[in-house]
């Protein structure tokens, strides 16, 4: 009894997309909550302080959402025209936003009316940010200027007129209160220093710059514009580190994961790509329903918020960690715990096999719930039966319904190369067994017809493959002639014909 060895279920490597740590991590989000905004969502910004509310800029309003709220907990609607770029201060208590009419407004999170209004830009202000010392605001506008404002006096301190086109993005350094960068439609990204009154660094992106980002360390700068995302080394004086081209439409927004290990980019092609910041390869990609304009990640990547052109805000929350930890029983220190040997439960089909109920075992694995989810179990059982030499017995004596189950399974899985050898064998046995009764049931006949069609197609396909193999052999042959030695140990048995041709 104890000697029964359960059937080994063969596992096959899943071909195609590899499952990496990243796919697991980024797929671990709930289905998105979708919120309809008044217009295209141009900016999403998370408060850096708990409870990590986020500000959503759309049309002429700024909505503040709580972490799990589906309705805004606060609204700033004191804008005469479209608002842009609502950004939280580092302490999460102040909010600054630009506007289409050229004004910059500063709000208290708890208040309603603006605390400060900075007038000075003549055209739409698309980007604003707080400097690292919290007392200044940087703004960039369509009048080609970048201005630095003092919050206490609500006065303009400096104006930079170095850009020659719209200034559409910018950010301030998190370490140095005097440094900030701006990106413009004149294809350049410039770094300004408030102490020098002119730009200290300028890099040429090559496309109108839509978004810029500074790494927390301040050493690397990321710019996005056109279809490119480019990473620049600031410490080496603005040297291009990598240029990424993974979108097929304009990249509109950039974001860093909270660990700083991953860079996210959203684009008008409706995708968000996740890059590793060590290898700068795409490690994951999200699809959305519409072109993406804004993107933000919450603290600890708990939430991904994406704003789209059709005014829909998509909010994805991370699945909560399953807390399986049952409370361990209180143990006295002198207790010795002896583990009871875990009783092995045999699978039902194994139990049948153990008692030589082969037909029943086969029935069990031919159940639709098994064949669809885990065809490899079915195939393994068929293989085992074949090994025992009782497959014919197990398959025999079935009525119309059961035999069509078997045939269905064959039709579905025969063309899979991993199952093919076993299933072809089974198909032959079935034909042998049921040949005498063929023609009695139109249902079964039809299934045979489908199977035949499938096999025909597979044969055609394999014939094509054989031809292609021939071509590849030729290609490899030219390689080998060059090198003189055989590189292809693993395939050398595959082309004896080829050798003949060569010689």
């Amino acid at each position: 009894m104890a000697g029964y060895k359960p059937v080994a279920i063969q596992t096959y490597p899943i071909l195609g997309e590899k499952i990496t740590q990243d796919t697991l991590y980024w797929n671990n989000y709930k289905t998105p909550v979708q919120i309809k905004e008044f217009g295209a969502v141009s900016k999403v910004d998370f408060s850096p302080q708990p409870p990590y509310n986020y500000a959503v800029t759309a049309s002429s309003r700024i909505h503040i959402y709580g972490r799990y709220s589906q309705e805004p907990i606060k609204t700033f609607s004191r804008f005469k025209d479209t608002a842009y770029c609502a950004t939280f201060r580092q302490d999460g208590r102040l909010l600054v936003a630009g506007s289409e009419d050229g004004g910059v407004q500063l709000f208290d999170i708890s208040g309603r009316a603006p605390l400060r209004q900075f007038e000075g830009h003549t055209k739409a202000v698309h980007t604003v940010d707080f400097t690292a010392d919290k007392y200044h605001v940087v703004s960039g506008a369509d009048d080609y200027t970048v201005k630095l404002w003092d919050i206490p006096n609500s006065k303009e301190i400096l104006t930079f007129k170095e850009h020659s086109d719209y200034v559409r993005c910018g950010c301030a350094s998190k370490l140095n209160p005097d440094l900030f960068i701006t990106g413009s439609y004149d294809h350049t990204v410039k770094m300004f220093d408030a102490r020098t009154s002119e730009s200290v660094l300028c890099v040429e992106h090559g496309q109108p710059v839509e978004s810029v980002l500074l790494f927390p360390s301040g050493g690397l700068l990321v710019s996005a514009g056109g279809r490119y995302v480019k990473v620049w080394d600031m410490l080496k004086g603005g040297q291009l580190l990598v240029s990424l081209k993974n979108h097929h439409k304009t990249v509109t927004c950039l974001c860093l994961s909270s660990s700083g290990q991953r860079l996210l980019s959203g684009s008008l092609d409706r995708k968000v790509k996740v890059y590793s910041t060590t290898s700068y390869k795409v490690v994951h990609s999200f699809d959305y329903a519409a072109s993406i304009l804004s993107l933000a990640l919450a603290h600890e990547d708990e939430t991904i918020v994406v704003g789209m052109t059709n005014g829909i805000l998509s909010v994805k929350h991370r699945k909560s960690e399953a807390k399986k930890e049952s409370l361990p029983r209180r143990r006295r220190p002198d207790d010795i715990l002896i583990n009871r040997p875990a009783k092995k439960h045999l699978e039902l089909y194994d139990r049948d096999l153990k008692h030589f109920r082969i037909s029943k075992a086969l029935d069990r694995v031919l159940d639709p719930s098994c064949t669809i989810k885990t065809p490899e179990i079915t195939v393994s059982i068929i293989k085992e039966l074949n090994r025992r030499g009782v497959l014919a017995n197990a398959l025999a004596g079935r009525d119309e319904k059961e035999i069509s189950h078997v045939l269905n399974f064959l039709i579905r899985n025969l063309s899979q190369p991993r199952f093919a050898p076993v299933l072809i064998n089974a198909a032959e046995i079935i034909i042998d067994i049921y040949l005498p009764v063929i023609g009695q049931s139109p249902v079964v006949d039809k299934k045979f017809l489908v199977l035949q069609g499938l096999v025909e197609k597979e044969i055609d396909y394999q014939r094509e493959l054989l031809e292609t193999l021939g071509m590849m052999d030729m290609l490899f042959a030219t390689m080998r002639r060059k090198e003189g030695t055989s590189v292809l140990e693993h395939t050398s048995d595959g082309f004896p014909e080829n050798k003949k041709i060569e010689s």
Binding site: G439, F448, L465
Partner: protein, 601 residues
């Protein structure tokens, strides 16, 4: 001279002017037409607007005309003299809508905010703010205040309705005394931006206001509500009306027909609907049934003429090109667009051009293009876009784009596409193909076509790659492992073919029987069986025995048949005999025959 713009307003008012129709234009002039004479009565130009006129309203009593425009001004016209009576700045941005109060003493104007003007003094009486976007429509909903206890001064207590651009809410406001709050009292939600609004005025307190709102998405929403003070939640519609085409069969799915406008008939119980296209609208009277929350009318408008927008877009025309001209096309550098010099058909045009000496008119050129598109197949244009699409798809790994390109069946197209692919995309393409080769043979066959094309077209490039073997190693192994089953499969296929032909043959013979022939055949077959190996008989009996065992196990439970176990092997054959008792021999024939052959294989 200038694009004229609609915006009719009913010519109500003075008895001698009931026949006048006022029309505002995009350049700022207002035209007065006489509907009786059918000709232009007069023009209102001097001192008026210098931008697009948005709305015109006749005053009920005085015969004055009020107009508002994008130039931020409101103008009061004297129609008799065609002169401006008064002109004042109405808003900070363009004024989009006007509405005169029921008693004729007040004027509502809507731009960024809604303002209520005293007509006599042209002073602002009230401001109403609340819409985020410019207000597009305005309408008074009541002509009498709800509570009659207070003395009525002609305006206080009245309700009016407003809609705004890009806003799915219609707000209702109440004109109140000075110190009361000025936000909207209630709102109606609709599915899209309202494009047309009609309502029945309520004349007393108990009578509900009926409101019909036509939205941009082509639906009509009906509301019925007794206006009675403040309501916090937006109201949803009582009834929604849609119109769709009848879906005939599987091919033509029902398509929605947009409703363009809706108006209440004078009895307030039925609705006039305007639907179809603006070029040829259909007007229909629909009785209102307030109990149904959703009405979908099925109307066939296929016999109506409609401009075919879709076909106009998909028709791509190849421009006529001069042979010297160099065409620069956006795309991947190094890949050439498929625009070719004009085909022979255009020679006529060119000769014409030469003979004429002067430039050919635009009309003729367009005509020439038409000729081209008839002759030139789609293929050239598609190959032009396919490589671009495929490159984009490979770069961004976009599943949809790749599917779209890779699932073409046209071999010629595949060849041309591969030919135009830039070299650096070849390896990613091969990797993508590797992924797709593993699927169902149906789709995988197409991938093989692609693979073959790549290999043949880019053979020389591939053979120069130093790391070709590691690049293509997986692909090679994959294909090899798949091909391994070829022999067995062919074997199985042979069996299946035989089986199928057997089935079809037996079906045929069942249909038409000619017993004379069959008797002979059976005799011969039996003899042939005896000649064959003993093994067959052995195996046969073995098979039968196995089946018996199985069946006996199962039958013990079912307790159906009590026949001898030895006889059961034959029983199956007999079963068939029972079915077609008259053709015993024939069935025996068809049963034995395949068995022999299969074993012989």
């Amino acid at each position: 001279e200038s694009p004229q713009r609609k915006r009719k307003s009913e010519a109500v008012g003075m008895s001698n002017q009931t026949d006048l129709l006022a029309l505002g234009t995009a350049v700022g002039s207002i035209l007065l037409y006489s509907t009786v004479k059918g000709e232009l009565h007069s023009k209102l130009i001097s001192g008026g607007h210098d931008n697009r006129v948005n709305c015109i309203q006749w005053h009920q009593d005085s015969g004055c005309l009020y107009s508002c425009s994008d130039d931020k001004h409101i103008v009061e016209w004297n129609v008799q003299t065609c002169k401006v009576k008064c002109k004042w700045k109405g808003d900070n941005s363009s004024v989009s809508s006007l509405c005169i109060s029921p008693d004729g003493k007040m004027l509502l104007s809507a731009g960024r905010t809604i303002k209520l003007w005293v007509l006599e003094t042209k002073e602002v009486y009230r401001h109403f703010t609340g819409h985020a976007t410019p207000v597009s429509s305005l309408m008074f909903t009541t002509i009498r205040p709800p509570n009659e206890s207070q003395p009525f001064d002609g305006i206080t207590g009245l309700y009016f309705l407003s809609g705004a651009v890009h806003d799915r809410l219609l707000n209702v406001w109440q004109v109140r005394s000075e110190n009361k709050e000025k936000s909207a009292v209630m709102s109606f939600t609709v599915t899209d931006e309202p494009v047309y609004i009609d309502l029945t005025l309520s004349e007393n307190k108990e009578e509900p206001v009926k409101l019909a709102v036509v939205c941009r998405d082509g639906q009509v929403h009906l509301f019925e509500h007794i206006l009675n003070g403040y309501c916090k939640k937006p109201l949803t519609s009582n009834c929604t009306i849609q119109i769709a085409t009848p879906g005939k069969g599987k091919k033509s799915t029902p398509k929605p027909i947009p409703i363009l406008a809706a108006g209440f008939c004078s009895d307030k119980m039925s609705l006039l609907l305007v639907y179809g296209s603006w070029f040829q609208p259909t007007i229909e009277r629909v009785a209102l049934n307030s109990r149904e929350p959703h009405m979908c009318l099925v109307r066939d408008i296929s016999n109506c003429w409609a401009p075919k927008v879709e076909t106009a877009i998909t028709k791509v025309r190849t421009p006529v090109m001069n042979s010297e001209a160099k065409v620069l096309v956006p795309g991947i550098p190094g890949h050439h667009a498929a625009i070719k010099p004009a085909p022979p058909q255009t020679e006529q045009v060119e000769t014409k051009r030469k003979s004429g000496g002067n430039e050919v008119s635009i009309e003729e050129r367009l005509g020439a293009m038409d000729i081209d598109t008839h002759k030139k197949g789609k293929e050239d244009l598609q190959t032009n876009s396919f490589p671009v699409l495929l490159t984009q798809g490979l770069e961004s790994n976009d599943f949809e784009i790749l599917n779209k390109v890779l699932q073409t069946r046209n071999v010629n197209l595949i060849k041309k596409t591969v030919l135009r692919m830039p070299l650096h995309t070849i390896i990613p393409l091969l990797q993508e193909l590797t992924k797709r080769l593993q699927g169902h043979p149906n789709s995988a066959v197409l991938m093989v076509q692609w693979l073959k094309c790549v290999l043949t077209v880019h053979a020389s490039y591939l053979s120069t790659l130093p790391d070709l073997v590691p690049q293509l190693g997986t692909l090679y192994q994959l294909m090899e492992s798949r091909v391994k089953t070829f022999q067995k499969l062919s074997h199985l296929h042979g069996k299946l073919i035989l089986l199928i032909t057997q089935v079809t043959a037996s079906e045929k013979t069942k249909g038409a029987t000619s017993p004379g022939q069959k008797a002979k055949l059976v005799y011969e077959e039996e003899s042939s069986e005896e000649e064959s190996d003993d093994e067959i008989a052995d195996k046969d009996s073995e098979d039968n025995w196995d089946e018996d065992e199985e069946e006996s196990e199962s039958e013990k439970d079912e307790d159906v048949e009590e026949e001898d176990e030895d006889a059961e092997g034959k029983d199956e054959e007999n079963g068939e005999d029972r079915d077609t008792a008259s053709e015993k021999e024939l069935n025996g024939d068809s049963d034995l025959d395949p068995e022999n052959e299969s074993e012989e294989e």
